[in-house]
């Protein structure tokens, strides 16, 4: 793909990248299908249940496919009092950025779609657009639970974006670049999870909050808000919100792999295994930990959530930046 990225633009280029983009979309959809199944299976295993085991053999391999089919065939309802144009537009605004951020992620040194100098910032900036979709969806539903969920989502995503960026700054300082490819290259000798353990912790917690997952799933708290910002949505519009969420799971797990786990770099003396396999392994480990979190943590309260972001994570990430700067100027 390298030569395609660097060649002069033309219609062939457009066709090639369109095809590759469509391919990536299919891969991501496949991931989402099986991530949902894996989530239900792993959670079932952790809670002493079996999980889906009817559709598609003993492992329930076609369960999610059946669920998606059901969603697509379901009646599409729009509440009478809803703000119709925004209600229709909101799932699109929420989903589009989630797929756009994938463009900046380098999966291996050969398989990547862009080489953006500010790749990390691009991810953060574009993923912030989803919040607008969530808030609009919550507002346009004209339902108090939906509105509350939308407001919570906005407050949470804005608050946790700050520690997220601040902790990633430590990595940027060490790598000397915001280009994700350069960041992976800089981890040739030591992964940043070892050089930046504090940053990794903060980033991971903030990432869970950005993904709206347990223990930070207040925007969709089903036991207090019915189900949050998408309570009025049904059918494929609801599916779009869920899809956006799981595509972000994919993107965030990939981003953590790139920033802290050395991307496609192998573990010492196991270099004969190709980089793509290493990337997939690390990626799966992150996804597994995220599912594990979901099965084991209780939900935090709204005030705890905000205090944790502003009074714990933010100061810690500032300390981390200062420490990293001192270490870098002394030892590198």
């Amino acid at each position: 793909m390298e030569q395609w990225l660097e060649s002069a633009p033309g219609w062939t280029n457009v066709a090639v990248f369109f095809g590759l983009g469509a391919l990536l979309l299919l891969v991501v959809l496949g991931f989402v299908t099986y991530a949902i199944l894996a989530e239900r299976k792993v959670m079932g295993f952790m809670q002493g249940r079996i999980g889906p085991n009817q559709v598609g053999g003993r492992l329930g391999l076609l369960q999610t496919v059946a669920d998606v089919l059901k969603l697509l065939l379901k009646e599409d309802t729009i509440p009478k009092a809803a703000d119709r144009p925004l209600y229709v537009l909101a799932p699109i605004i929420a989903f589009t950025p989630s797929f756009m951020v994938l463009a900046a992620l380098p999966f291996t040194d050969a398989f990547r779609f862009a080489d953006i100098g500010v790749g990390l910032l691009y991810y953060i900036a574009v993923s912030g657009l989803t919040t607008i979709g969530v808030v609009t969806g919550g507002w346009a539903s004209n339902n108090k639970y939906a509105l509350l969920g939308g407001m919570r989502a906005a407050a949470q995503m804005i608050s946790y974006e700050i520690p997220l960026v601040m902790s990633a700054l430590g990595v940027v300082l060490l790598a000397g670049s915001m280009n994700l490819v350069d960041i992976v290259t800089a981890q040739d000798n030591v992964w940043f999870i070892f050089a930046q353990p504090l940053a990794f912790l903060i980033f991971f917690i903030a990432a869970v909050a950005e993904l709206n997952r347990v223990p930070f799933d207040l925007p969709e708290a089903e036991s207090e808000l019915v189900s949050g910002f998408h309570v009025e949505y049904s059918g494929f519009r609801w599916a779009f919100f869920m899809l956006a969420e799981y595509v972000y799971l994919f993107a965030m797990a990939a981003l953590i792999t790139i920033l802290f786990l050395g991307g496609w770099h192998p573990v010492a003396f196991l270099g004969w295994i190709p980089g793509s396999v290493w990337f997939a392994l690390k990626f799966c480990a992150i996804v597994y930990v995220l599912i594990w979190f979901r099965a084991t943590f209780p939900r935090v309260r709204a005030d705890q959530l905000m205090e944790f972001a502003w009074k714990v994570l933010l100061p810690l990430s500032l300390v981390n930046i200062v420490l990293t700067a001192v270490i870098k100027s002394l030892f590198f």
Binding site: P9, D83, P85, I116, G117, L121, A125, T131, A154
Partner: protein, 173 residues
């Protein structure tokens, strides 16, 4: 016409269309969404100028943070977002004066930028955008940079002081 021109016209159209739609709409929340379209169009124009850092920051700050804060403010303060009573005020004369001043402004801008000379080509800066901006900022503009951060801090503290004044009852709890 090259691909860049097509991209420029599409993005410029998106930016202007967003602005015009915003003026035409009556619902405040709809206006904010139209505004996002303008912001994104402008970010796209920055990309065309190879100013990727500025483009990304535009999306991050304007389309992301500022829009959300505006939505928050609207949703928390107004129950009736729709402004149905809005009527065009003023007669023919008002409109004529407005149209003429818009035209005059457009002409002034056109003649202003038609012969504008930006000096040396800045494409060397485009190679490693963020790094170059950082170098310039910290080598030549350190004091203005610091002053800006102090101003932001003052604004932050001012906002807290203003907000505290309202919530006397909340403090007693």
């Amino acid at each position: 016409m090259s691909g860049t021109d097509i991209a420029f016209f599409l993005l410029a159209l998106a930016a202007i269309a967003g602005g015009v739609t915003m003026l035409q709409l009556t619902n405040v929340v709809h206006m904010v969404i139209a505004l996002v379209m303008t912001f994104l169009g402008i970010a796209g124009l920055y990309v065309l100028l190879s100013a990727e850092f500025v483009a990304v920051v535009q999306v991050l700050i304007y389309s992301g943070a500022i829009t959300i804060i505006m939505l928050f403010a609207i949703m928390l303060t107004r129950h009736h977002a729709d402004d149905k009573e809005r009527q065009t005020t003023g007669g023919v004369w008002h409109r004529a004066v407005a149209a003429i001043s818009v035209l005059a402004f457009g002409l002034a801008v056109y003649f202003g930028i038609r012969r504008l000379d930006f000096g040396a080509d800045g494409s060397a800066l485009a190679a490693d955008n963020a790094r170059e901006i950082g170098k310039w900022l910290y080598s030549y503009y350190t004091i203005p940079f610091e002053i800006v951060s102090v101003i932001l801090l003052v604004a932050l503290i001012g906002a807290i002081v203003l907000a505290k004044k309202d919530g006397k009852g909340a403090e007693d709890k």
